[in-house]
Symmetry: D2
Subunit: 350 residues, 4 copies
Amino acid sequence: MSVISVGIVGGTGYTGVELLRILLRHPNAEVKVLTSRTENGRRVDDMFPSLRGHTDLQYSDLNLDELKKCDVVFFATPHGVAMKHAEELVAANTKVIDLAADFRLQDLAQFEKWYGLDHACPDLLKDSVYGLSELNRDKIKQANVIGNPGCYPTTVQLGLAPVLKADALVKPESIIIDAKSGVSGAGRKASLGMIYSENADNFKAYGVAGHRHHPEIVEALENISGQKGVFNEILFVPHLVPMIRGMLSTIYIDLTDAGAEADLQALYEQFYANEQFVDVMPAGSSPETRSVRGANQLRIALYKPQPKKLVILAAQDNLVKGAAGQAVQNMNLMFSFAEEAGLQGIGLLP
Amino acid sequence: MSVISVGIVGGTGYTGVELLRILLRHPNAEVKVLTSRTENGRRVDDMFPSLRGHTDLQYSDLNLDELKKCDVVFFATPHGVAMKHAEELVAANTKVIDLAADFRLQDLAQFEKWYGLDHACPDLLKDSVYGLSELNRDKIKQANVIGNPGCYPTTVQLGLAPVLKADALVKPESIIIDAKSGVSGAGRKASLGMIYSENADNFKAYGVAGHRHHPEIVEALENISGQKGVFNEILFVPHLVPMIRGMLSTIYIDLTDAGAEADLQALYEQFYANEQFVDVMPAGSSPETRSVRGANQLRIALYKPQPKKLVILAAQDNLVKGAAGQAVQNMNLMFSFAEEAGLQGIGLLP
Amino acid sequence: MSVISVGIVGGTGYTGVELLRILLRHPNAEVKVLTSRTENGRRVDDMFPSLRGHTDLQYSDLNLDELKKCDVVFFATPHGVAMKHAEELVAANTKVIDLAADFRLQDLAQFEKWYGLDHACPDLLKDSVYGLSELNRDKIKQANVIGNPGCYPTTVQLGLAPVLKADALVKPESIIIDAKSGVSGAGRKASLGMIYSENADNFKAYGVAGHRHHPEIVEALENISGQKGVFNEILFVPHLVPMIRGMLSTIYIDLTDAGAEADLQALYEQFYANEQFVDVMPAGSSPETRSVRGANQLRIALYKPQPKKLVILAAQDNLVKGAAGQAVQNMNLMFSFAEEAGLQGIGLLP
Amino acid sequence: MSVISVGIVGGTGYTGVELLRILLRHPNAEVKVLTSRTENGRRVDDMFPSLRGHTDLQYSDLNLDELKKCDVVFFATPHGVAMKHAEELVAANTKVIDLAADFRLQDLAQFEKWYGLDHACPDLLKDSVYGLSELNRDKIKQANVIGNPGCYPTTVQLGLAPVLKADALVKPESIIIDAKSGVSGAGRKASLGMIYSENADNFKAYGVAGHRHHPEIVEALENISGQKGVFNEILFVPHLVPMIRGMLSTIYIDLTDAGAEADLQALYEQFYANEQFVDVMPAGSSPETRSVRGANQLRIALYKPQPKKLVILAAQDNLVKGAAGQAVQNMNLMFSFAEEAGLQGIGLLP
């Protein structure tokens, strides 16, 4: 069984430690390099005692020569880091999977508007692949650079793909996404807004006037549906839930006459029949976030509370299928490993 | 200062103890009778130690003669209890405030469909008043029987009243209510679905196929707007948040051309200018449930993320403005007390 | 009814906003000055929307001339601030209540060891009074400067005072305090260790090797018992509970023969018979922190699981009886107001 | 690689679903039978959607003939069930692992006192082995019936074994165990005391006057130390933490002169040097429960805040090392599988 060398840039955040949780038990991968701007020389299990007994890895400063020895490098960094190093890594035959936004948006104007950055490698961006594993599997297999999707956009795309790829079942401009996320989605950062006493026993919306995942969703839905320009007015309102992990998007969409008559439950079940990480639940179900806690799984349920209105519920663990798990799923595709390698853990319930 | 005698039927649930928390500090009310089917003779502060030092009340069996001596009786009971006793109490000149659903719906067919009960006093129902304090103030002042609104419907009505009462600003059939509630909304009941380990660190939708508050919302919006039949297809999807108290409704609605041009922020501020328990927050705000924890307050914020789409955020404490607080507010109106009497507590933050 | 002018220095932390929650509803106090190093000119209800509708106060820079116009100034600041300004305020006839540690320890060496600060006004320190309201009531009434007790020490002193003041019932050197606090006790600070995802669904001890409240507890128990030197080896181990507010100390102590024979339940009930803010619960009770959530109350229960071992459970809200509530209680004493003025709110349960 | 057949009696509780989470990914085990008194015919993944995609198992009524075909049967049932069937299973050459208390206490009087049951098979009890894997490994390998330890006793035994097995380092009668558990330890039962709104944002002690794990701890410590009668007066006070999983015991013990001089950190590290599921953390560490969330791991840290007093912190996931994980560890020993088979999952942090 082949084993590849893996580097992780930015190993002190939640996606970094989640990558480690998965990769340290992965049969085909060995993490060789783990970088941090601030923790050079420190053992990672000193910072994250959950890893004690599983690894002797230490953080090192970012050293491109060391990273180039890896077969693949994950960037679990803030936006703007991966794009600085991706060209040099790809030139050295090292594949790149960026968990930030550098390779998510093909529209450079949108990228610069929402992330405040000039793109460092627009040519490489064109060759990069958007890593929504189930929808772009063939391209991912050939890719050198992956832009791993945002957590919210993953739920929206997998939640909507079956009806958007079908012919004229829905009115695309009617889409409303009321999304809810656990607090870990905001990362591991010292900020007042994230402290326990500001978030526990509390619920609120945020980013109502505009959120970075909105343009990503629009671009992705255009690609899925092949329809340009019809998604610009969709609404996306994220909310913050007092829980660590978990994300649920409640998606509302108007059906056409054809959509109202279609058997959408069957459509979804068929669409995802061969997907082990997307679960279309039986009619009447309600996917709970705890049912995917720690698992690389997205669960979907459908409702038609009115004849021409469809409600789609899509739940995932934001750190797994919404981030590190999907990144490893993409790695598995890129290196022709079993797609489920390292990703078969069962969700932690209760 | 006049002081009235108060009875509470059903004092072992969360609305019951919340009524006590408010009424035991109310300058114009004295709780004389507190009933329970199961706890006859037990001190209430034995069951709820938060009340130790504030009352010597004991639970008694329901005794109508005792209740008739009260000026007002609150029913903090399951659906179907208040309607059995209301006529006799009213005949004895005792006012009735029901916190359950017996006097919420004028449409008997809907009541029987959703609550599975024949109504025990349809005539009295006709004379009863729906106790949304801000919208029905004048009628409440004259009422003998109040149907205290459901928690979700309170957020929806106060959230929508300004635009629905204005002329042709919105498309009423487009309303989507994505609502979120803390767990206390489900009451104090021994049921598997409500235990800690099933709800903590979890998020889910429920009642997507149909919820009892849907017909209440439809009837109430018809009354507010004066438009019959246009709200039947609105969507209402409640979700369960891992917090004790708190409720946020995110309401989506399509604007007409007139609505798109109107200054809705000003409209709302004006509409609620004299309301001390409804707070229209400044543009750009996001009402957090913790900002109303324990307070008889509903906070609203408005967004127009698209020119013709309005997003309304409405937050309250489900046990206060969504239940016991509003009930006391109605009592204050019925007895011509200061509307804020007993209700001026500041929310507990953090 | 007399009304005094109040200043609060440091109004952006949790004790600051809790002081406001209490004082804005206090019949004898009006907050005139509210300072912040960073928020000059900002409305306090913009930072804490729970206060919307209750105040128009704005933050100002610390200005001693303004503070001197107040009858009393609360310092809800980090350690080391109050001692810089206390002398000047007292000279201007303004009383000072410090919620930090500047006036808690008479032993200057201990203060400098644990807080790393030279004391700025050791003479004033000698004249200051340690503000454990129930135990030092007479001195507090005469005081110009109050050192408001730490949250943990409050539970320990009130939990132990009855047996320590009695003659030879316990072996003082055997005391073990296993204490647990909600996260708000650590304040409102942007630090990694305090963020939601690091504290939710988690439990741990901290400060096991040494905690600042240890010397305060030792000094206080010496004063209570009149015995010097016998408490140096007591153990104090604090733990962090995933809840916002609340503190429970479980105190273990060996009884002497006399203690084993004494009726300790009666002793405690008698000791606190006239105290409205200390509640000795019936034998067999277990004080829950939620029973005091938001209330200025400490509840105690006693157990003798072995003939010569006493277990004392003492619960309070760390922000109320453990901080802001006790500070206001002290203010009431200092100005001869009713001791319960502003402090009669009932705990928020659930 | 050999694969054994496994039965689980009582598959609707938290230890049952945790056994499934572990065993469905175990290389040497296949769950063939899963019983429930109430859910006969229902798919287990309908009740626990976290298992969707991992199993087609259905619940069946308890049928001894089916269970006898298994190599091992786990009882994840209330106390009193396993003892009724164990003899017949053992006679059929099926091993039994009881996760309840039927085979924990050799002292029948204590069993009957604390569990209110006559023991159904006292002879088999004598042959059964107490399944604290690290301490009784050799006997477990030979056992037909295992009494899987209680969650609290596991932390206490592993926390104390090194000093109790050493000669005269501690004063055994001085032991105080202040223990804290997440709510899942109380099981999956519909009871008022366990509902979300009664436990969230709350902390309390329980069972102070006596807890079933006290006699188990006493008997176990006698066996570990070889000293009878010296542990009868130890204190054990459990507390309930608002978290789902996790348990921390803070253990206080007086050292002898020899103990005060010994290098206890080295003693512990040596004692557990070859144990992969017991982690002695470096001096100064504080084991957090989240560091073992979902992992079969117990972490220990030691403190000597006073020369002759030892504080031991021992953290585990109550459902894993405290229940299902240790049960599988015992199964691995009984069938000569790798002890870590199925148990290498890394804790879920955050």
